[in-house]
C-alpha cells in the first residue's frame, strides 16, 4: 500500500510534469503548501485537470486501486481536496485507507 510520502511524491511529480508545458517564467515550485485551485491558487482549470489525471493514473498503477478525485464525495469534503498539495495528498491517503 502507498504511504503518505509516496502519495505526496505522486502529487508533486504531477506538478513537475505540468512544468514541462509551462513557460520558464511560469514554472511552479511544487511543495506541500503549493496552492492548487480556488482563492490564491497557482493553477487554472486546464492545469488542475492535468494534475487530477496524472495523480489518478499514478495512484491506480502503484496501488491497483481506482481513486476518483472528482466525484460527489470529493466535492462534499469540508476542505477541498484541491486547495493545496497537502489536502490532495490527505484525500488520496484517506481513500486508500478504506476497504477496496
Amino acid at each position: 500500500m502507498l504511504d503518505r510520502a509516496a502519495v505526496q511524491e505522486i502529487v508533486l511529480h504531477a506538478l513537475e510534469t505540468l512544468n514541462d508545458e509551462r513557460a520558464p517564467e511560469d514554472q511552479l515550485v511544487p511543495g506541500p503548501q503549493t496552492r492548487l485551485f480556488g482563492a490564491d491558487a497557482e493553477l487554472d482549470s486546464l492545469a488542475l485537470v492535468s494534475v487530477i489525471v496524472d495523480v489518478e493514473e499514478a495512484v491506480s498503477k502503484a496501488s491497483g486501486r481506482t481513486v476518483p478525485l472528482t466525484d460527489d464525495r470529493a466535492m462534499s469534503q469540508e476542505v477541498s481536496p484541491f486547495s493545496d498539495v497537502d489536502a490532495l495528498t490527505s484525500y488520496v491517503v484517506k481513500l486508500l485507507s478504506e476497504p477496496a
Partner: protein, 193 residues
C-alpha cells in the same frame, strides 16, 4: 437579436460575442507562445479585424470574460450541421493565464458552449481535431468525456514541424453522464471554503 448575439452567463465567466473591437486583443493573444497549437492566424491587427468581420452568422464566436468584465480568452462553435446534429468546438485559447489562476474559466466557458450546443441548438455530437503534442488540451478533452476516434498522421504543421492530429468526439449522452458532472465538480472546487 440572434442566438449568436446573446451573452452566455455563468458563475465565474461569461461568453460575450466576439466583436471587431476585439481585434487588437485577440491578435495579441494569438501571437503568444501559448497559441502555438492553433492554426496560423492574421498577420496584422487589421487582418484580424477583417477576419472577425467576416465570420458567418452560422458560427458562434465568443470572448471569455470574467464576471467583472475582464477578457481572458476566446472560444468558438463552428461547422454547425443541423441536419446531422454535430458541430466543432474550437479556437479555444486562454490569453490571460495569470488572470484565471484558481478560477474555472476554461471549464465554465466550455460548459456554457456545450450547453449552447446540446441544450439550446439540440446537437447530438461535438467533435474536432487537436494537435497530438498539445498534451494539456488532449488530456483535458479526454477528462471531459471526449473519446479518441482516430489519428491523422502528420496532419498539422505547427510549432515548426509536422505532427499528428487526434480526432476527438463527444456524444450528447456522454456529455450528460460524464462531462457535466465533472465540469460541475471542477467549478465547485473553485468556490471558497
Amino acid at each position: 437579436m440572434t442566438a449568436a448575439d446573446r451573452v452566455l452567463s455563468g458563475e465565474f465567466v461569461n461568453l460575450r460575442p466576439l466583436e471587431v473591437a476585439d481585434a487588437e486583443l485577440t491578435f495579441h493573444w494569438r501571437s503568444t507562445e501559448r497559441a502555438r497549437f492553433l492554426n496560423a492566424g492574421a498577420r496584422t491587427v487589421e487582418h484580424q479585424a477583417d477576419w472577425i468581420a467576416g465570420r458567418p452568422e452560422s458560427e458562434y464566436n465568443y470572448v471569455i470574460e470574467l464576471v467583472d468584465g475582464r477578457p481572458v480568452g476566446m472560444l468558438s462553435l463552428t461547422g454547425i450541421d443541423r441536419v446531422h446534429g454535430h458541430a466543432e468546438p474550437g479556437r479555444f485559447l486562454i490569453g490571460e493565464e495569470a488572470a484565471v489562476q484558481g478560477i474555472p474559466a476554461a471549464v465554465e466557458a466550455t460548459k456554457l458552449l456545450y450547453g449552447l450546443a446540446f441544450d439550446d441548438i439540440g446537437l447530438v455530437r461535438v467533435c474536432g481535431l487537436a494537435a497530438a503534442e498539445n498534451t494539456l488540451v488532449v488530456k483535458w478533452q479526454k477528462f471531459m468525456g471526449m473519446r479518441e476516434e482516430g489519428r491523422l498522421r502528420n496532419h498539422f504543421f505547427l510549432d515548426g514541424r509536422l505532427q499528428d492530429a487526434i480526432y476527438l468526439g463527444l456524444l450528447v449522452d456522454e456529455y450528460r453522464t460524464t462531462t457535466l458532472p465533472r465540469m460541475n465538480a471542477l467549478i465547485g472546487a473553485a468556490r471558497s471554503r
